[in-house]
Each structure stands twice: as structure tokens, then as C-alpha cells.
């Protein structure tokens, strides 16, 4: 079923005021009954979790380390259909007619590790904390455009008001960063960024953390969800060296990465792993988000839209896809492939076109050269391509350089440490940059707010086209899914030609390897959701 259609149905149901959301406590789902209890799981994590305060956290690394310690109001379903939002702490909820008031009913059994119940006060406190001004709120801050206020109606009922009706709000609430934290602990001044201090309500408790080496979970024996979690304990080894991680997977020292969240291993490594493990290790692919090249429009010649268009035309996206992902990445659409633009449509876009025998369409190259000449650069120009020494950026760079060289743009490759690179981007000290953006939720709103509008995390130089801003505001409040899609198409048409500062290259996949012995491993819609381990169980007798 197409994502867009499902999204529309959900939206219609929400806006019609119909109760949406399953209740886990009412009837134990089948998948809970089927799981085997017990066992100790060894996983790996490709990076150190930097922050243990989920509201302060910015990356999936922190989300992966903390999500199992807490609960959120709502969550994505851990078993298919995994893009359905079900309740976590909330056993049910209602949305008002005008779509701006949500009423959540909390599960009465929910309690903190210290025995106190999880109440509406905790929820209100947490929601306010997520949008607290003046504090670092890299991911939870995404709620700010939507969230207005919340109140505790009674100990187990919360009412939340939003500034305007939007389906994105609930999706954001289901992200791994938007967990509920204990009011009584924080008001006592305890710093929950220290692992030892964490008091959660989640299925696992923090059981040790050695930076650079591992972090561990142990079962919460009084977990308020019946039948969960399955595992007795989990030990997550931090292995930043991919080669080492892969060999650990091969030898069975670890049984996988924290599932469905992306592990940083490349497609070739994934293929080699599946092959060498003779079926023991399965790879899961999750679409992570749009990856793109962005230019600093405050510097010449990138302020000229003709130059930007030329760059977009010259990029050979298919070659990059082939080189890095063996063709498995999605096309470089503005919004999620298939949601607004179909894959077939995208393949007709200038810059994305190919001849029947697979070569880049020469019309695009000619047009790019023409545009450059018109803009005053008939012989091209030199530019610095700044990227960080992580991920696949280094592997792509030689290809990007060769591609742009065809229209006369000579790139000087500059690779820097991740830290230095981010600083340079934020300070506007770059000419051409490159980043893959891992989206938090699948709603198109995030594409606007993070990439194309001023203040976005991928828009350090603050480029904003007033036309795009106008479309964003219109579509965010549009309740009719068809009308909304039409507006998104409008935006897409504007942006695909290089009107913005960002040229989408692909929608890149992340691969997560897991041993067949680990059960209930499914992918969420993005890598920033569903990082909880409560649904995993171990079958020691499983075979490939």
C-alpha cells in the first residue's frame, strides 16, 4: 500500500475525530504471546552515545542508547505495519474536530522504576521540557512550530493544544527523542544526562556504561507492560571500526546492530556480510532520508540561480547510486520517493535523465554548459568541495569531482574531521558541501523545516525562497490530503531544478545487520523511531 495513501487515511481518521490508536494493555497482541522469554543479547553500536538526556540528544546514537529506558506517549508499531502509530504510555487518544486539541488517556499501570506512577503531570512536564527555550533541544525542538500548551485534566488524562492542525505533530510525538521523563526526579535537580541517575519507565534499566567500550541494559522486572520485555539483558559493544564490527558479526561475537536503525555499514559490506555469513546474518534496509549537495549561495558564483541549476544538471546521480549503493538508493526526489513524485516521474526530470543505454542524457550536460556560459563562466570555475571524513562522503567525492569537471567546474576536494566540517558549515565557511540527512519522521513538513526554510538544520546559511515558505505554510494546515499533495508537487517542481541551495542526490538506505537468532526485527519508517528493544527476543535454536 502506498505510503501516501496510508498517510491520507490516517489523517482523515484523525481529523474526523475518530479514536485512533491501539491499546496494548487491553488485549495482549499475538506477537507478545509468541515471543520466548529470557536470554542475553550482544549487539554492537557503531558510535558512542554522546548524550543520555533524550531531550538534549541529537543523533540516533543517543536515541539507541536511551529509548529502551523510557516510554513515549505514542510510538510506531514494532511489528508490521510499522508505520502505524500505536500507543505507548497513552492507551488511547482523541483529536478534536478542528484538529488542534489532543486528549490522551494514559495507561494506569505505567509506573517509574522507583514505583511511583506515571501521571499526566509527568507528561505535561516532559512536553514543556521538550520545547524549553534557551536549552539545547536539537530534535525535540522540532515540536516548537506545532506545540502550544498542555494540561493534566486528571492523573491519567492529558490535553494538548497545537497551534494549527497537522498530522506531523503526532508523528513527531512518536519519535525516539520525545519520551516522557519523571517530573519528580528532574524537579529534585537530578541530572539525567548521567547514566547512573536515570529513572525511567521503560522495559530495561541502565546496567553499566564504559565510554568507548559498551553500555548495557538489564530487564526491568516490574515493567508495566505485561509479557515484556523478553530479554533478560542486553550488552551493546561500541565498535566504531566497521571492519572490526563486520568480523565480530561473522564470528558471532555480536548478533547485530540495534535493530532497524542504521549501522553505517555500506551496501558492499552488507552484501559481503550476507554472503560470508552463509545466511546467518540478515541485512535490513531502511530508507533514511534525502542526501544532497548544498551550496553557499552567499558566495559567488552560487548566488546565481543559473549556476545552481547547472550544478544540478551536471550531477550524475545514477553513477553515484551505482558506485555507492549498487543502485539501491532511491531517486533524488525532493520528498520521499513515491509520496509526491513517483520514481518514473523523477526519471524524467532534467538532471535525472538517462539515455536508453544508461548514459547521462547529453542534453543535460549541454544545458548546464549553456547556463554557465550565460552566467559568465564559459570555461567553468574552481570551487572547494568540503565534506567530512565519515560515512560514504569520501567514496563519492572522486565521482562528484569527475562529474562536475565535465561541465568545467573544477572541484578542490577538502576533507575534514566531522567536528571541523560541521563547524565550517554552520559558520558559512564553505562553498559546496555534502550531507545525508536522516529524517526524524516521514511527514513532508520535516523536509521543509530542516532543508528549505531558514533555521533548518540543513540550511546553515539561511537560504529561503519566499515562494517555498508560502507553500509550506499552506500545506501544513491543509487537511485534504489530495490538495496537500498538489501543493507539495508545486514545491517539488520549484525545488527540483536547483532553485534552492540543496540538490537532492538520492534517498539513501541504511543497512542494519542482525543475526537470524534475533526475532522481531522490523524496520520503522525512519531511523529515529523504534529504537526500543522491548519487542526483541532470542531464539538460540534458530537457523538460517
Amino acid at each position: 500500500m502506498r505510503n501516501s495513501i496510508r498517510l491520507s487515511l490516517v489523517m482523515i481518521m484523525i481529523l474526523a475525530g475518530i479514536r485512533v490508536g491501539g491499546a496494548l494493555a487491553d488485549s495482549t497482541p499475538d506477537w507478545v504471546k509468541q515471543g520466548k522469554r529470557g536470554g542475553s543479547l550482544n549487539l554492537f553500536h557503531d558510535s558512542n552515545p554522546e548524550l543520555w538526556d533524550p531531550h538534549r540528544a541529537a543523533t540516533r546514537h543517543s536515541a539507541q542508547a536511551t529509548r529502551s529506558l523510557y516510554n513515549s506517549l505514542v510510538m510506531y508499531s514494532p511489528v508490521p505495519p510499522t508505520d502505524k502509530i500505536i500507543g505507548d504510555l497513552a492507551k488511547s487518544w482523541e483529536v478534536s474536530e478542528d484538529g488542534t486539541t489532543y486528549t490522551f488517556k494514559l495507561d494506569e499501570n505505567a509506573k517509574w522504576w522507583d514505583g511511583k506512577p506515571v501521571t499526566a503531570d509527568d507528561v505535561v512536564f516532559s512536553l514543556n521540557r521538550m520545547v524549553e527555550p534557551g536549552q539545547p533541544r536539537p530534535r525535540t525542538g522540532a515540536l516548537k512550530p506545532y506545540y502550544k500548551s498542555s494540561q493534566a485534566i486528571d492523573p491519567h488524562t492529558v490535553e494538548v493544544q497545537t497551534k494549527f492542525p497537522s498530522a506531523a505533530f503526532l508523528s513527531f510525538l512518536a519519535a525516539d527523542y520525545m519520551v516522557i521523563v519523571p517530573k519528580h526526579v528532574l524537579e529534585a535537580g537530578i541530572d539525567i544526562n548521567v547514566p547512573e541517575n536515570i529513572v525511567g519507565s521503560g522495559p530495561f534499566k541502565q546496567a553499566g556504561f564504559q565510554r568507548g567500550a559498551f553500555y548495557a541494559f538489564k530487564r526491568n522486572p516490574d515493567y508495566w507492560k505485561e509479557g515484556l520485555p523478553f530479554l533478560d539483558s542486553v550488552k551493546v559493544h561500541v565498535i566504531t571500526d566497521k571492519g572490526r564490527a563486520l568480523t565480530a558479526l561473522l564470528t558471532g561475537q555480536v548478533l547485530g546492530h540495534i535493530p532497524a536503525s542504521g549501522s553505517g555499514i555500506t551496501v558492499r559490506q552488507a552484501a559481503a556480510l550476507e554472503r560470508d555469513s552463509r545466511g546467518w546474518v540478515k541485512i535490513q534496509r531502511v530508507f533514511s532520508g534525502p542526501g544532497g549537495i548544498f551550496v553557499n549561495f552567499k558566495k559567488k558564483p552560487f548566488d546565481d540561480s543559473r549556476v545552481r541549476k547547472a550544478i544540478s544538471l551536471a550531477l550524475d546521480r545514477r553513477e553515484l547510486n551505482q558506485a555507492i549503493y549498487e543502485g539501491k538508493a532511491g531517486p533524488g526526489t525532493v520528498f520521499r520517493p513515491g509520496s509526491v513524485t513517483s520514481i518514473e516521474e523523477a526519471s524524467q526530470w532534467p538532471g535525472h535523465r538517462y539515455t536508453p543505454d544508461g548514459k547521462k542524457d547529453p542534453r543535460d550536460i549541454e544545458e548546464a554548459q549553456r547556463l554557465l556560459a550565460e552566467a559568465g563562466y564559459p570555461n567553468g570555475f574552481e570551487a572547494e568541495y568540503l565534506y567530512r571524513n565519515i560515512w560514504t562522503y569520501g567514496d563519492e567525492a572522486p565521482f562528484v569531482k569527475a562529474q562536475l569537471a565535465k561541465v568545467g567546474i573544477k572541484l578542490n576536494l577538502k576533507v575534514v574531521e566531522s567536528a571541523a566540517g560541521l563547524a565550517a558549515y554552520v559558520a558559512g565557511e564553505y562553498e559546496i558541501g555534502r550531507i545525508d540527512h536522516g529524517i526524524t519522521i516521514t511527514d513532508p513538513d520535516e523536509i521543509f523545516t530542516s532543508i528549505y526554510l531558514a533555521g533548518g538544520s540543513r540550511n546553515q546559511v539561511g537560504y529561503e525562497d519566499p515562494k517555498i515558505r508560502e507553500i509550506f505554510e499552506r500545506q501544513a494546515q491543509e487537511s485534504d490530503p489530495e490538495k496537500r499533495t498538489a501543493m507539495l508537487k508545486e514545491a517539488s517542481n520549484l525545488l527540483k531544478d536547483g532553485e534552492g541551495h540543496w540538490f537532492t542526490i538520492w534517498w539513501f538506505p541504511q543497512h542494519t545487520p542482525t543475526n537470524v537468532k534475533v526475532k522481531n526485527v522490523y524496520g520503522g519508517p525512519t531511523i529515529h523511531v523504534l529504537n526500543t528493544l522491548e519487542h526483541l527476543w532470542l531464539d538460540p535454536n534458530a537457523k538460517p
Binding site: 550482544n42 558510535s47 558512542n48 554522546e50 548524550l51 543520555w52 540528544a57 541529537a58 543523533t59 546514537h61 543517543s62 527555550p133 534557551g134 536549552q135 539545547p136 533541544r137 536539537p138 530534535r139 525542538g141 522540532a142 541530572d191 544526562n193 548521567v194 564504559q210 565510554r211 568507548g212 567500550a213 559498551f214 550488552k235 559493544h237 565498535i239 571500526d241 571492519g243 572490526r244 568480523t247 565480530a248 561473522l250 564470528t251 561475537q253 555480536v254 575534514v416 574531521e417 566531522s418 567536528a419 571541523a420 560541521l422 563547524a423 565550517a424 558549515y425 554552520v426 550531507i435 540527512h437 536522516g438 530542516s450 533555521g455 533548518g456 538544520s457
Partner: protein, 320 residues
């Protein structure tokens, strides 16, 4: 000699101050603001300039550099190494966790290296220009030429592909689980020892050759003493000096952090902590580790000089 030691120790202070100043300043010149990094995460997320200012204020990175330096160095003089910028844990504790590991690795590597190097070095010298000598020389010269990080990578590939075995992932202290500890450290030890052994063997060979030419050795031989007796008694005793001095120097270097090897073999020592902290711009940890490395190098150099002066009274080294 006592006054010499005191003299040297006193000279430590300006040197260490200089080291601390250099590292402090270099850290601040390097691009990469830790407050910004903490907020930015891996490039995900949003923040407001107010949040950035608040964090900088909290971390203390917005104060003038001189003030930051004085605060820090004053704390160090009192034994307070500060706290990590990222997770606020005391730097001292992190170093305490990691130092024994690097210590064990360095010590094991030197001991293994010496045990192999001295015999083959001496043998090579005694049988100079024979096939034994030439083979050994080629072997050791290659050992010094092969980049240790390359040897480390090849070792892991070999182990994984041929034996399907890898060192265990979690570090265990030797007094907790000696077998696991051995498994984890044996291969990085061997890789490091290979390099140091080659080095030391060359030194031993040279030293042995030197001694063999000495007049009194020739005299002893002429007197008809047994070859082996001559060898062991005189030559060994006189080789001890260069071997000891070079070993001390090597140990000091390894304690500075066998950074690449620790990274490749996932050894949780000070070397990998340093690299980690460098990438994250966790200044207090970096500064503390480099000071520590500097102290160790200075101390081991001093020990080397003392050994020289002590063992061979003919050589009294005096520095200007």
C-alpha cells in the same frame, strides 16, 4: 647524583608548563567548538544562538583564553584535572580506568621484545656477516620498516579469515579474568613487540659488536678463557646499558599512547581515549592526556640518563 636528579626534576616544570601551554593554545586554534558539536550532534538538529551561548557559558569556553588557561593549570597544580566537556565525568577517573591498560600493553610489548631481541641481536653480532647475521639483519630491518598499523590490520584480517577468531570485545583486567585479558592483549602486544624487537635487536647487535672489539675482551680471549664465558660475562654486562636505555625510551614512547594500534585492536587505553577526545574536542581530557604522556616521556628520559651515569661511571652526562 642527587643534585643532578633534583636539577632535572626542576627543569621538568618549565618544560611541562610549555607543553601545557602549547596543547592548550593548539586546541583553541583548531576549528571545532565543543559547545557547537554537542548541540549539533552529528549534524542533526536545531539550536538557537541563545542555547549556544548558554552552553558555552556553562562549559566555560566563552571566557578569555588566558583566564581559561590559568583556571585549568591552577587546578592541575592542585591535582584537579577537570571534567569532560561532554559528559561531565571527572577526567581523573577516565584516565584511571584507561591507564592500566596501556601500561600493561606497553610493558608486555617491551618484555616480549627484549626477550627475543637480546639473544638474536647478540647471536647476530657474534656470527657477524654469516648467513645468520644477514638473515637476522634483513628480518629486523624489515621489522622496523613495516608500519605497525599495517601489521595490525593484516593480523586481524588473518585471524578473522583464516581462524574465524577475534579477540573478545570486552576488556577484562588481568586480576579479574586473566585468560580473557590475555586473549585481548596478546595480538596488539605481538604487533607492537615486533616493531620494538626489531629495533632493539639492531641496537643489541651494534652494542655487542662494539664490545667484542674492546681491548679487554680480546685480552680475555687471548688468556684462553672459554668463549661462552667471555661472551656472557663481559659482553652481556656491557650490553645491558644500551638495551636498558633503549627499552626505557621505548617504554616511554609506548606509554605516550600506541594510538593507532589501540584503535585497530579496540584496546580501551589512553591512546584510544586521546583520539576519541580529539575528534570531539573534549579539551580537558586531551590536555590531561598529553601532559601525562609528556611527564612519562620526560621521566623515562631522565631514567635513561641516570642509568647511563650510574652504570658507567666513565660517562657522566652533564647538560648545559
Amino acid at each position: 647524583m642527587g643534585s643532578y636528579v633534583v636539577h632535572r626534576l626542576v627543569l621538568f616544570i618549565p618544560t611541562l608548563l610549555l607543553v601545557s601551554l602549547i596543547v592548550f593554545v593548539v586546541m583553541r586554534i583548531m576549528p571545532g567548538d565543543p559547545a557547537l558539536l554537542i548541540l549539533l550532534g552529528e549534524g542533526e538538529g536545531t539550536y538557537t544562538p541563545q542555547e549556544l551561548d548558554n552552553l558555552r557559558h556553562k562549559l566555560g569556553t566563552n571566557r578569555p583564553i588566558l583566564e581559561q588557561y590559568v583556571t585549568w593549570i591552577w587546578g592541575v597544580a592542585q591535582g584537579d584535572l577537570g571534567r569532560s566537556l561532554w559528559d561531565n565525568s571527572p577526567v581523573m577517573r577516565q584516565i584511571q580506568d584507561r591507564l592500566p591498560v596501556t601500561l600493561q600493553l606497553a610493558a608486555m610489548a617491551i618484555v616480549v621484545a627484549a626477550l627475543v631481541a637480546v639473544p638474536i641481536g647478540m647471536l647476530s653480532a657474534v656470527k657477524q656477516d654469516s648467513w645468520i647475521d644477514n638473515t637476522t639483519r634483513v628480518f629486523t630491518i624489515f621489522g622496523v620498516a613495516a608500519p605497525p598499523f599495517w601489521v595490525g590490520i593484516l593480523t586481524i584480517v588473518f585471524l578473522a579469515k583464516v581462524f574465524h577468531w577475534l579477540p573478545p570485545l570486552d576488556y577484562a583486567h588481568p586480576w579479574v579474568d586473566p585468560w580473557r585479558n590475555l586473549q585481548q592483549l596478546i595480538f596488539p602486544t605481538l604487533v607492537l613487540a615486533y616493531y620494538e624487537m626489531a629495533f632493539l635487536a639492531r641496537v643489541t647487535r651494534s652494542a655487542t659488536l662494539e664490545v667484542l672489539r674492546e681491548d679487554y675482551v680480546r685480552t680475555a680471549r687471548a688468556k684462553g678463557l672459554m668463549e661462552r664465558f667471555v661472551l656472557f660475562r663481559h659482553v652481556l654486562a656491557n650490553c645491558i646499558l644500551p638495551v636498558l636505555t633503549v627499552s626505557s625510551w621505548q617504554f616511554g614512547r609506548l606509554m605516550g599512547g600506541a594510538v593507532l594500534i589501540e584503535a585497530i585492536f579496540l584496546v580501551p587505553g589512553t591512546g584510544s581515549l586521546l583520539i576519541d577526545s580529539l575528534y570531539r574536542r573534549d579539551f580537558p581530557i586531551i590536555q590531561a592526556l598529553i601532559l601525562l604522556a609528556a611527564i612519562i616521556v620526560l621521566v623515562s628520559n631522565m631514567v635513561v640518563d641516570l642509568l647511563y651515569g650510574f652504570i658507567d661511571p666513565r660517562i657522566r652526562y652533564s647538560e648545559a
